[in-house]
Symmetry: C2
């Protein structure tokens, strides 16, 4: 299988299936379509449009070119193709709950998403402090994270949401951990501990190290960055 | 199972699992938590918070109270509990594709969602005409619908996305059909024909007729309605 992703520094949607597949040991080839500009006529969009009707990443391409797009649909495809890999918890109700959590992340958290876009390389704690003070919607999103995470961490004893095994639900929140750390967002101690565990997880760390080495900044995403980009777009 | 929903006139997220379960003949009890106001302290939110940490509808409650929330997680739970009911297409790749379509609907179509909220009872064609003229993002969402639907309708011969059997992907687009009709949004003829078929589907019609009988307007959602509400909130 080939997983087509965006820049590791920015692409939170790409991070999810990449971390999931790497953490579960599912083999795949990686192909990066580098973001250039947020423009429907960009080179990125032209390339992505060849892969799926959404013209977005990530896309999972099977050997004969069959495309599965959207990280949640990919998780289900992987679960069907590799039923023993642990994409979801083995217990049916834990599996249902894990899917509820992923789907809540998938369609919600509008303020966290729009105000705190993932940017692994940048230290945005000053901006985060201001945003938390000014944006009740962002504070509500952080409370929602705690409301989703804490019951599962408590019920299953951690370190992951459903106990000892890292599953798709954890992979889906890995980009959230990046945002919490990058913007210094406040969470209750058990939620903060989960963010720390996610940040240290080996597949997450592999992604982070690659992101830090990219230096392909998209100017529109970097209003706070001083000086010129060191990467060519 | 008990399916907790919001007002049928407005609650596009509730419509999806309701239509799916009804169309597939899966038995369930319906419970409506009526929207009052978009206020975190509303009666609606207080009741919904007892059911799930998201404090939103829909919620699927199993006999012992186990809650599955989010329409996409519900579809997967129903697929696991009733594997022969036809929640998803029987063919694995059609199933993967159906999930890609649902997940795209679930996380995307921001302009269609925000500019054209579902309101089954209202005739919003004048507003729709203005929005289409003024909002390139809305036009892009409509093109995206065509890009998602037309290849499947062509490949499988209709009337539904994956052929003769109505599945979760069709149920997920039922609220979109309501918006296209209510706001008079323009689509290519085959996409418009699919909207028409969705609108006439028996479970969709049952929902629509109930919505038309509600008359419980939420004032904040009805800036264009003349005269006082005929319903008590």
């Amino acid at each position: 299988m080939q997983l087509v992703i965006g820049n590791k520094n920015y692409s939170s949607w790409s991070m999810r299936p990449w971390v999931l597949m790497r953490a579960l040991g599912l083999p795949f080839e990686e192909r990066m379509l580098r973001f250039d500009f947020h423009d429907a006529n960009s080179r990125f969009s032209a390339e992505a449009a060849k892969l799926s009707p959404t013209a977005r990443v990530p896309v999972l391409l099977e050997a004969d070119g069959f495309a599965v797009w959207d990280s949640l649909a990919m998780a289900e495809r992987l679960h069907e193709c590799f039923p023993n890999a642990g994409v979801w918890p083995a217990d049916p109700r834990q599996r249902a709950r894990a899917r509820s959590l992923c789907a809540s992340m998938h369609s919600g958290f509008g303020k966290l998403r729009s105000l705190c876009p993932m940017n692994i390389e940048a230290d945005l704690r000053d901006i985060g402090r201001q945003l938390v003070a000014q944006e009740p919607g962002l504070r509500a999103d952080l409370q929602q994270l705690e409301a989703l995470w804490l019951p599962e961490l408590t019920a299953h004893g951690g370190p992951w949401l459903f106990g000892a095994a890292f599953c798709a639900a954890d992979a889906f929140f890995a980009p959230v951990a990046m945002r919490v750390k990058g913007y210094g967002l406040p969470l209750a101690p058990p939620a903060q501990a989960y963010v720390e565990a996610l940040s240290q997880q080996s597949a997450v760390q592999e992604w982070v190290q690659a992101a830090l080495g990219e230096h392909h900044w998209v100017p529109e995403d970097e209003p706070y960055r001083q000086g010129p980009s060191s990467g060519q777009l």
